[in-house]
């Protein structure tokens, strides 16, 4: 197992290298630069600014300088936010996204798993129909509709929570619910599907024949196999949910990394684009690895190879 994990971790290095290289050159070929603005700068001033950030050097040298920099863990200064470094911005914003993502994930699992199991066990009953319909609605209603609706009701109409911001624990409720609902719907449907498949298997019949209680059959024997599709979904989903959602962060004005990621591209903040892309890539690879490990652990038919 350790060799498997070590090998996969080593693969991250070339993956990141390819991603950094591709991103570095792609952002440079986009028209407009970090200092392009409505009001044109006199050429002398533009030259001073570009010299300050080393943008006056040939592209290949800038690329090599950048690689040298990231080898030392320095992601460079932000072009947009003059007195902040990319390391600092990520250090500030990532914890916020992790917190929001963690809470949303908790909501998603707490809602999705039990409802999925329930729907599978009470298959084709009103419980199943209710859960499936709710799940379908959850998948279909986009967050940019659900979020403002929740704000309208709980923040504006009832005045219980703030409409936006990230100041105290009450500000966590609506964003976590909005983001969590969507994932809960997916998890519910995947759990239901996985459980239905497993509940028809021979070993479940054996367990029942041996007189195991229904709760034991479902929770102990079936759930482990029924969760497999959920786990493979959760790998990339957790990476997405933890790195922040641009839409949720914008609706609720949360100072997370998702907004920085998208806005840095609009601002042509080259170093911030590269920093966030690298972070996302690394997280995605790590989460996929974790999902693979958990799958082997859950499914005795699989082995580390």
């Amino acid at each position: 197992m350790f060799r498997f994990i070590a090998r996969r971790l080593l693969q991250i290095v070339p993956v990141l290298f390819v991603i950094v290289t591709a991103t570095f050159f792609m952002v440079r070929f986009v028209p407009g630069g970090p200092f392009t603005s409505e009001k044109a700068l006199p050429p002398e001033i533009l030259k001073n600014i570009e010299a300050h950030y080393g943008l006056d050097q040939p592209l290949w040298r800038q690329y090599l300088n950048y690689l040298g920099r990231i080898a030392h863990g320095d992601l460079g200064p932000s072009f947009k936010y003059a007195n902040r470094s990319v390391n600092e911005i990520i250090g500030d914003k990532l914890p916020v996204s992790l917190e929001l993502g963690g809470l949303a994930l908790a909501v998603a699992l707490a809602l999705g798993l039990p409802l999925g199991v329930l729907a599978a066990v009470r298959r084709n009953s009103w419980v199943d129909y209710l859960c499936s319909t709710t799940g379908m609605i959850g998948i279909c209603v986009p967050t940019f509709v659900l979020g403002p609706l929740l704000v309208l009701f709980f923040a504006i109409h009832l005045g219980w929570v703030n409409a936006s911001g990230w100041y105290d624990w009450t500000d966590r409720v609506l964003p976590a619910l909005t983001l969590g609902f969507v994932y809960a719907a997916y998890i519910m449907r995947l759990t239901r599907g996985g459980m239905l498949e497993v509940l028809n298997q021979d070993y479940i019949r054996t367990a029942r024949a041996k007189g195991a209680s229904e709760a034991r059959v479902v929770l102990r024997h079936a759930l482990r196999g029924g969760l497999l599709p959920v786990v493979s979904f959760l790998g990339p989903a957790i990476a997405g949910i933890l790195t922040g959602s641009f839409v949720i962060e914008t609706i609720f004005q949360i100072p997370g990394l998702g907004r920085e990621f998208v806005n840095s591209a609009f601002n042509r903040d080259y170093t911030l684009v590269l920093g966030t892309v690298m972070l996302y890539a690394a997280l995605l690879v790590l989460c996929n690895l974790a999902a693979d490990v958990v799958q082997v652990w859950l499914n005795p038919k699989l082995k580390f190879e």
């Binding site: 028209p31 007195n83 923040a155 504006i156 005045g159 703030n162 911001g165 004005q253 042509r268």
Partner: protein
Amino acid sequence: MKSARLIPPVLWLLTSVLCFTAACARRESAVARGNREGVLHLSVGSEPADLDPQTVTGLADAKICHSLFEPLVTYEPGTLEPKPALAERWDISPDGLTYTFHLRADAKWSNGEPVTAQDCVDSWRRILTPSLAADYAYFLYLLRGAEAYHKGQTTDFATVGAVARDARTLVVTLTHPAPYFLQILLNSPWRPVNVRSIAVVGDAYRRGSPWTRPGNLVSSGPFVLKEWSPHQRVVVEKSPTYYDRARVRLNAVHFYPTDSIDAEERAYRSGQLHATWALPLAKILPLQREKNPALRIDYNLETYFFRLNVRKAPFGDARVRRALSLAVDRDTIAGKILPGGRLPAPTFTPGFLKGYTPPARTAYDLEAARKFLAEAGHPGGAGLPPIDILYNNSEILRLVAEAIQQMWKRDLGLDVRLVNQEYKVVFASRRSGDYQVLLGTWTADYLDATTFLDMWRSDSGNNHTGWSDPAYDALSDRANTIADPVARAAVLAQAEALVLNAAPIVPIYFNTHVYLLHPAVKGWQPTPGDHTDYRYVWLEDTK
């Protein structure tokens, strides 16, 4: 059995309901608390890139800087007359070239040091130092010798027209008479900073110094920086060292960088904000109809207009350009298509700009438009290639472009296509001249016609139309030599008439600043350039 399975979801629901009811009672909103405690909650639209008045370019950044840094001269709200600030009085030489400012004795930095004339000179030296790479350093080219110093032609700052005669006397020499000089001192780049305190935390002459962090920032204005949480809020509190502190009625201002206008509107409605930065287009008309007291419409010195690329056929022909301009029904666009009290723009410079009367124009005349088109050899639009209107992906620009596409099609028989690009891509296309008709905006930097008219000089970096005329440059140069404001304005109006007749630009409408302002906010008097002096603002609960 059944109930056991139901336990997890029921438990979860129960906890969430409990959590919610714990915070259940309608809480006192930030606005209500702010009204009680004298704390103003404002949205500033976007996260400030920095709080260094000498390097910032964004409107949000400037708004916050203005609460922290005092200018030499400010304005009287309402009349917009110059009014003493750091300078208690000033003398102007008869030729309008030399200004002698007498600084007040009680002006202090927030670290207790007095604000001296040398501080002003040091500040201007800092912004003009090439290594600082300040975007708006060219604003100071009005100072004699500043341009040469900034472009590195000399390293002797004594050649620049800013001298501290003694601790409280500052003598400024200009390159040409500029009746707007006292006004321009309001702009961030001109506001003095404390260079000594900047040098303590880093290189004062390079970007990216952390001197603008709370705890490091030394300021001279009515407020001092207390907190800067990126993408959350910037908190400034009443300064105990400000010379006019007796007049300051707010205890603090919280600036929120809300970059979604929908989110800020919701935040306003839930009682988190006293004022929004803007308002979604769809929300304006209903509020206008119900005469909502929170709806605020201020005149803005911002013109929406077309650039016509004269290097591309058929726009090389002035008659075609005139025809296009005459066929734009500005009243319909400003009055019917767009909500928010926008004004039709027969000229490029707004008529409500003080001290300047734009040339009288008939802006909309379909008959004349068709005649010009026929004279150019295209009766009824015959023989003209399809025209592309380029604009960036903003909702309001799309509405305007669609309306004019329809007008030109219906009234001139032209085939018009709309081309939409991301905003920085539009700037790149504009610079490379890769467009036919470009829809854009121009916002005044200061309250004078030259901020609009200097654009169309042949040496302007913002022209981008390919049009130039030595006669226009000559008029503009002549205006710069005239000290008498009335005679100067008349020459500038001649220049404007010239560029409007040549029509490399088609003014469409003057924008307004539409936003929500809570009725509890009193003494709110922004200038047309959107400077708000928070000294005069106070909060009064209307309930």
